[in-house]
Amino acid sequence: MGTSLPRAVLALALTVAVVGAADAAQRKKPADPSIWEPTRRAPLTEVKGDPVRGRVIVIKKGSCLTCHVMPIPEEADHGDIGPPLATVGSRYTPAELRMRVVDPKVLNPDTIMPSFYKSTLNRVAKGLEGTTFLEAQEVEDVVAYLSTLK
């Protein structure tokens, strides 16, 4: 910490995303080597993700629209902090999407995107300590929904 993430890096991340090549090597800080561990990418539960539930989670509990423009026209005011996700399912495999939802910091340690399945966070509000942003099955549902965005 302490080093400021230049806006250019964010712009780069956006460009990379738009062009459709998520080349971790292009990023400024080296990615966490554990991203290559197969367990990182394996489904978190036995139950197959449900894209319909995933869409609801994306809107409500996941608050993804805070930062992303998504093909969810009934919701107003999508944020523009992250790249649009309209075609994200055609650019990443479910395993790659899961990794980005579970803990995007393995790819970009400085990202603003929350880690949705991580329980070792700093100074979490009382009552929420040790819990995760989304539950395992909810992550699977979100991944299933994102995979439909082609």
Binding site: L65, V69, N122, V124
Partner: protein
């Protein structure tokens, strides 16, 4: 070819997304904006809606005037066992409090630590008036802080960060860059990396502190910087610190340094 078409479409969606949210007008060359800019630094005023700016500009429309008046009345009101008022020792605030608010938080030899303006005022109440200190975020403390800070309006924020203030400043800096809460965010992710972008509809500013205490339309009242900091912590589901805590005073010093050069705007009006 196909990739670039997709890219174009994606870009279009992105642009459409942001165009739907019309930002308040801001032209850095507009002479009316000059008092709210210093180099790359922009006061929250420049990110505010024109109606909100107008409210701040007009003494009669500015709802914070109520607190300014309360502060002015308290300035000359004797209190405590010593039966003294602020004016007994400090005379006219317009003369003797000018340029005081713009240099806080500041290392205080009597306190032996860095203190903010609220704490300095309370020190005077305890030591010099034998009066009970006002509670943080209480009406009289908000009113007096606003009244004193306002005497520096138009003067640049100018805090000392070297000498005895160094370790406090470093603590504040560390806080600013440390991730916290369920959303796992540091201040810098929103106010340094993403100002000018939107979290849903909300346009992110640089998180400057030169206008505090501030009247927030959402609060329907005037509030301290520490209240805002607690809000920014709670929003990302981080456990906030108590108002007036060591952590927030240190952070306040770091934030004042970030705002260094911007003019004191107290009392500002924000959404």
């Amino acid at each position: 070819m196909k990739t670039s078409l997709i890219a174009l479409a994606a870009l279009f969606v992105a642009l459409a997304g942001s165009a739907a949210q019309a930002d308040p007008p801001f032209d850095p060359k507009d002479p009316k904006m000059a008092p709210y800019i210093s180099g790359d630094k922009r006061s929250g005023y420049t990110f505010a809606e024109p109606e909100t700016r107008a409210m701040q500009d007009d003494e009669f429309l500015n709802p914070a005037s109520l607190w300014v008046e309360k502060g002015e009345a308290l300035w000359t009101k004797p209190d405590g066992k010593a039966n003294r008022s602020c004016s007994s020792c400090h005379g006219k605030a317009e003369d003797n409090m000018k340029g005081v608010g713009s240099v806080y938080p500041k290392y205080d030899i009597h306190a032996g630590t860095v203190i903010n303006l609220e704490q300095r005022i309370n020190m005077c109440r305890e030591k010099h008036m034998a009066a009970t200190p006002w509670k943080y975020e209480s009406e009289p403390l908000l009113a007096m802080t606003t009244f004193v800070k306002m005497q520096s309006r138009g003067m640049p924020v100018q805090v000392q960060i070297d000498g005895p203030a160094v370790s406090y400043f470093e603590n504040g800096r560390r806080f600013y860059y440390e991730r916290r809460g369920m959303n796992d965010l540091a201040c810098k992710h929103c106010h340094e990396d993403n100002w000018g972008n939107h979290v849903r509809t909300e346009l992110l500013s640089q998180g400057m502190t030169n206008g505090f205490p501030t009247y927030r339309l959402k609060w329907q009242k005037l509030g301290s910087l520490h209240r805002r900091l607690a809000g920014c912590n709670e929003e990302i589901r981080a456990e906030p610190y108590p108002l007036g805590s060591r952590e927030y005073v240190d952070l306040e010093l770091y934030l004042a340094w970030r705002a260094q050069g911007l003019q004191v705007e107290t009392p500002s009006v924000r959404k």
